[in-house]
């Protein structure tokens, strides 16, 4: 049973793709392309964070009765990622390739170690714990898939 892990892991890859495009655009100094690719990455990433905070984490917290554990750390790291998105915006506005590269590298490492913890630990726990209640789990996954699909097409 790894439906949630599999789907969310796949969406991490989707966000990575958008990140790499924005980084490459800035590296080339193609700022108009970068504006578009950064907007896409922002939508993908924020959509991903929102789905976790609004659907997946509350379900996990309700099932385990633990709101001070892993999900609290994950939420704090999401906040840091949102801040770093702001650094990228500043660098784009100032057309500053060095500042963009600095912010991109910092965000990437933060994002990747965060994703690794989710993919190796938190998502499998969600699958195991939430998967027990099949009806509720199907409904949750339906909402998650719907929400991220809308981001991808929006």
């Amino acid at each position: 049973m790894d439906r949630l892990t599999h789907f969310m892991q796949h969406h991490h890859g989707h966000c990575d793709e958008a990140f790499a495009t924005a980084e490459a655009d800035a590296h080339r100094g193609d700022w108009s392309a970068c504006a578009a690719s950064l907007a896409r990455f922002r939508a993908d990433l924020l959509g991903h964070l929102a789905v976790e905070e609004e659907r997946i984490f509350p379900a996990f917290e309700a099932s385990t009765g633990n709101t001070a554990g892993p999900t609290r750390v994950m939420r704090a790291e999401h906040e840091e990622m949102r801040e770093l998105l702001g650094w990228l915006d500043e660098a784009l506005a100032g057309r500053n390739a060095i500042a963009f590269a600095d912010a991109a590298e910092t965000l990437l490492i933060l994002l990747q170690q965060h994703n690794m913890k989710e993919e190796n630990i938190l998502y499998p726990m969600c699958d195991r714990i939430l998967g027990g209640d099949e009806v509720a789990f199907n409904q949750l996954m339906g909402e998650v898939e719907q929400a991220l699909m809308e981001v991808a097409h929006g």
Partner: protein, 428 residues
């Protein structure tokens, strides 16, 4: 179980940093030894000088970096909490540092007392580490090939150090000379088992992570460590039979098995790197690529030494240089320059509202300089295996490399302290 897991178990800054700052000192010492006694080091890998230099790099530099990284990564990546990290790291670090230095002295002076001291201290360091982390590592809720790789690596470390203690007792005269054949197993378990499995476990995580490549195939991440474990176990069992003892069969089996595993790993990694989505060629990527090229060459030499295509005289030295400096030092340098800024940044983030970017703590230019210095160092050491007078240059470059690592890490720490001490009000 869910309640125990918090992800907040990243240890205090001093826990990993004490290991990372000690590692370059051992590289400096190894470099100076090579510069001063290079002809003896490169005469044969069995001279006291060669053994001292080898162990300064393995039990010194490499083990310091690997254990420092383990203390940092186990709780975060593997969900394996370490009880009392500060106390445990203090004990392990002290025993490891003193033990590493004692071991080098023991080889250089062929001194029984120093061999006893080194065996005791290094045995203590590893026993304390294993006792401290194994409960967490075996009970972690984390899944995946990395956790299994880490478990295998820890087991191999215990075997390696156990064999090393036995070999130290041979050198000190407590055990008969016939036990010296165990040195093949010591090398195989140390480089192929401990360092190799750890390298693989780290690669499964960080190669896709930093370069945005696809993941390694699951079959591969499960199969490769299992195959390495099977090769090491079979080789050791063959060695234990009367026919295998000294007959060369175990050596051949280990060499061919590990060469195949190394070649497969290098090939898989280079293939993934070619498919990377991130098109930035940074120093870390260069260090990894260099390591995989060195590993490919080392695998070829290892296979040649075993199949009898080349007589086993003389291949040991280039193999050692390729494995230690080419593969493991390359990866460790590349990784340190990612890990240390990241750790410092995480701690800074809690103290100031806007920390500098991680890349400002050790700049890309500094890392690239180190990459070039390290490459020159590797080439000089390889040349010295053919032409020993080059050992002087190889030694000086190794010492310089250790020095530059120390300077770069100190620079990152200075930048950290400078930001940390500014009151938050002044920044906002």
């Amino acid at each position: 179980m869910a309640a125990e897991l918090s992800f907040e178990q990243a240890p205090p800054l001093s826990v990993p940093l004490r290991f990372f700052f000690t590692a370059p000192l051992f590289a400096l010492a190894a470099g100076l030894l090579l510069a001063l006694r290079g002809e003896a080091v490169f005469a044969s890998r069995w001279t006291p000088e060669a053994l001292a230099a080898t162990h300064l790099l393995t039990a010194g530099t490499m083990l310091q970096i690997m254990l420092g990284a383990l203390f940092q990564v186990l709780p975060v990546a593997a969900g394996a909490n370490v009880a009392q990290p500060r106390l445990l790291a203090g004990l392990v670090h002290l025993a490891l540092s003193a033990g590493g230095a004692a071991l080098a002295c023991a080889f250089l002076w062929s001194d029984a007392q120093f061999f006893h001291l080194a065996a005791g201290l290094l045995g203590l360091a590893v026993a304390a580490l294993v006792l401290g982390v194994s409960v967490g590592l075996w009970r972690t809720p984390a899944l995946g090939a990395t956790v299994w790789g880490l478990r295998g690596a820890m087991l191999a470390l215990v075997v390696t150090v156990g064999l090393g203690v036995a070999l130290a007792l041979v050198r000190s005269g407590d055990l008969g000379g016939r036990w010296m054949v165990l040195s093949t197993l010591h090398q195989a378990w140390g480089l192929g088992g401990w360092a190799g499995l750890l390298l693989a476990a780290v690669a499964w995580l960080v190669v896709p992570m930093f370069l945005l490549t696809p993941s390694y195939p699951t079959l591969f991440t499960r199969g490769l460590p299992a195959a390495i474990g099977a090769v090491l176990t079979t080789g050791s069992l063959v060695m234990a039979t009367p026919a295998g003892w000294g007959g060369g069969w175990a050596e051949r089996l280990l060499a061919i098995g590990l060469a195949l595993a190394a070649a497969a790993f290098a090939w898989a990694t280079l293939t993934l790197q070619r498919r990377r989505r991130r098109k930035i060629t940074d120093a870390c990527f260069r260090f990894w690529r260099l390591a995989m090229l060195a590993l490919t060459l080392a695998a070829g030499l290892l296979a040649a030494s075993a199949t009898g295509l080349a007589p086993d005289t003389g291949l040991g030295l280039p193999l050692g240089v390729l494995a230690l400096a080419g593969v493991f030092l390359s990866v460790m340098l590349g990784m340190l320059y990612k890990i240390v800024p990241f750790i410092l940044w995480l701690h800074l983030r809690r103290k100031v509202s806007r920390p500098p970017a991680m890349t400002r703590l050790v700049t890309e230019a500094r890392q690239l300089l180190h990459y070039r210095l390290h490459l020159a160092n590797l080439l000089a050491l390889l040349l010295a295996t053919l032409w020993p007078p080059a050992a002087m240059a190889g030694g000086l470059l190794l010492a310089a490399s250790g020095g530059l690592l120390l300077v770069n890490l100190a620079g990152a720490l200075r930048a950290y302290l400078a930001v940390e001490q500014v009151p938050a009000v002044a920044l906002s």
